[in-house]
Symmetry: C2
Amino acid sequence: MAELEAISLLKHNNLRLTDCRKEVVEIFFSQQHAVSQPELEHKLGQYDRVTLYRTLTTFLNKGIIHKVLDDSGLTKYALCAGECNEHHHEDEHVHFKCIQCENTTCIDTLSVPVITLPEGFTFLDANLLVRGVCKVCNNLTTH
Amino acid sequence: MAELEAISLLKHNNLRLTDCRKEVVEIFFSQQHAVSQPELEHKLGQYDRVTLYRTLTTFLNKGIIHKVLDDSGLTKYALCAGECNEHHHEDEHVHFKCIQCENTTCIDTLSVPVITLPEGFTFLDANLLVRGVCKVCNNLTTH
DNA sequence: ACAAGTTTGCAACTTTGTTGCAAAAGACCT
DNA sequence: AGGTCTTTTGCAACAAAGTTGCAAACTTGT
């Protein structure tokens, strides 16, 4: 049951168990693609916008979720792989944005290539966003 | 002189020569880093926000500028390399965002590596955003 | 200098995101 | 289960980013 997993994740991160947090975690568990605050607001109409923003900020600080770059201007979030915590994030996966359904997903089978920056630059992290048409949308148009 | 280049670029794209368009093009010419609408508004206080948004949209459609990914939530733009037009964009350069001065620049010496997507996905384009500290900020802190 | 079409500025609005504060709810102890 | 302490929530108000409709001003070609 998804709720038990959600509770377990919250407890592991020393977070109080509230309905809002549980439901937000369950949405991250159940969805393959990155989520924005407006999308959460739409799915969980019962919670205030402010509460959802604060929930996302809390999860971000705990290393439960990470920001996903997107060309829409919206800030989107996705679950971290597991190596992240309060002090360190490690989310260098490749993200794929479908130009038809507009969903952004993590592609776990690919990793961001090693980048050698020019002299004088210091590397912190890298984000790769690939755009195209996803599996689901490709199937829909060819059938 | 920068104004002549700006006029030439606008004429090549069949755009009317207006003060606003000329000044926006000149800013793109004179700056190394990507520009957001609020930044334009701040530098060119004389034009209405709406006009600047519409100017950016026009340039985007003509292939004069392209969107640059950024982790700030702001939409930023930079000049296209030259192979772009109304029908086709080709801007697969690597962008570098400095976490100190917050400027985003194109790194021309690097190119986005070739990506092989999983079965069923169609590739359109790719954007790589590297974060770190830029040359200028590194020099400032070591002196 | 004129006519035709384009661009601009203004007003009004929508959406996204933030902050302060009092009320409600969670966690812990007995 | 009840009491207490702390965290979280919802509300109101605000700030910033971005959009739309329309009349006035400007560009361009003749």
